[in-house]
């Protein structure tokens, strides 16, 4: 069972290391893609970072396998690695770019922005 602290309050610091969504700004110019991407120049992609430690919180929507793996990791960290903090929900973005024939193309690319993180 999770250790109860005397005051019943959450550990602010610990939750910071848990699996959660973090900022990640992608700059197409820095990637060198600005010669074919017209818009946008960049966007907020976010990323998932943090530990998946026991017990896994429900908002992380763990699979049953992730629950088992996390349990085994908590019993013997050397035997099993923890489950992974990954994007569980993603959304698309629109990109305006020029194709190999210099035609202007609008395309909606799926799974470009992290909406939610979880343990898998």
């Amino acid at each position: 069972t999770a250790p109860n602290n005397r005051h019943g309050k959450r550990h602010g610091k610990k939750s910071k290391y848990r699996c959660s969504k973090k900022a990640l700004h992608v700059n197409f110019k820095e990637l060198g893609w600005d010669d074919w991407i017209i818009a946008p120049l960049g966007y907020e992609a976010y990323h998932c970072e943090g530990v998946c430690d026991f017990p896994l919180r429900s908002h992380l929507e763990p699979t049953n396998h992730a629950i088992i793996q996390t349990l085994m990791n908590s019993m013997d960290p050397n035997s099993t690695p923890p489950s992974c903090c990954v994007p569980t929900k993603l959304s698309p973005i629109s990109i305006l770019f020029t194709d190999s024939g210099n035609n202007v193309v609008y395309k909606q690319y799926e799974e470009m922005v992290v909406e939610q993180c979880g343990c898998r």
């Binding site: 818009a39 966007y43 035609n103 193309v105």
Partner: protein
């Protein structure tokens, strides 16, 4: 509930800066301005002379599609929500390469040529339209309606037609949109070029009129007034952004290598390019 609107970048800057407002008078949300601010200078809000000469300047129609759909996206609406997208997730524009044969006077026929070789065969075509800009001529040249008729170049089976009121069309210019989906089914199968032929007849007669009298001649048109062919496609498979990138690098590399090879700059056997 939030509103989304199309703002034409060519609207007078003063008007646009002062109040980026929705056509129905509501103030546009800040995110809209973000979208405008975050796009490439070539995307329409550059000062003249700032865009590099060889840069591709997107057509205003494509800019408006991008702005509307990406703003809707930020609101959680999918582009397919808009009927104008025809549920496509890819919209490609091809600029007309045809020219008017000035020796022919009057200009009774026009040919519109498009290179659609980059259109992927793997994607399902859900719509295609030819957009032709008609200039305002001021005084009407003749009374009564005109009928624009569009054909494939090698067939006399009409693709689409539009009626123009002589008085209206003389006073206001605008874009004539003709459906050319059929042309993709017949011509596209074995050719990377699409060719259309346009003519106009007056009223019920079959007499062809001079297209210049309808403001359709192509002389002196800027990039933004050129006709474009817009293809709406839907890819069944999830698109991989890196595929796009690899294609780009490959086409860029072949473009770089072509002149070098032509000039024989590479002495001896071609050196392997360090990856």
């Amino acid at each position: 509930f939030q509103s989304a609107a199309i703002i034409s970048p060519s609207a007078p800057r003063r008007n646009r800066e002062a109040n980026t407002s929705h056509p129905h008078g509501q103030r546009s949300p800040r995110l809209f301005r973000d979208i405008i601010a975050s796009s490439h200078p070539a995307a329409g809000h550059h000062k003249d002379g700032e865009v590099p000469k060889d840069a591709v300047v997107p057509h205003e129609y494509m800019l408006s599609i991008y702005r509307t759909y990406s703003a809707a996206e930020k609101l959680g609406l999918n582009a397919s929500f808009f009927s104008s997208s025809k549920s496509a997730n890819t919209i490609t524009s091809f600029v007309d390469k045809g020219t008017d044969n000035l020796l022919h006077s009057p200009l009774r026929r026009q040919k519109y040529l498009f290179d659609v070789s980059t259109l992927s065969e793997k994607e399902e075509l859900v719509g295609a339209e030819l957009r032709i800009f008609r200039k305002a001529l001021g005084a009407p040249q003749a009374a009564g309606p005109f009928h624009l008729q569009l054909y494939p170049c090698r067939s006399d089976k009409p693709l689409d037609s539009r009626s123009l009121d002589a008085a209206d069309s003389a006073e206001t210019g605008g874009w004539e949109v003709l459906d050319v989906w059929d042309a993709f089914q017949t011509q596209r199968q074995h050719r990377s070029q699409l060719c259309f032929q346009l003519r106009a007849v007056h009223g019920k007669s079959d007499a062809e009129v001079d297209l210049r009298r309808l403001g359709l001649d192509r002389s002196g048109r800027g990039q933004q007034e050129k006709a474009i062919l817009v293809a709406y496609t839907r890819s069944r498979k999830r698109e991989n952004l890196f595929n796009e990138m690899k294609e780009k690098i490959k086409s860029r590399r072949s473009a770089e290598e072509k002149p070098a090879r032509a000039e024989g700059l590479g002495e001896g056997p071609p050196r392997r390019r360090r990856r």
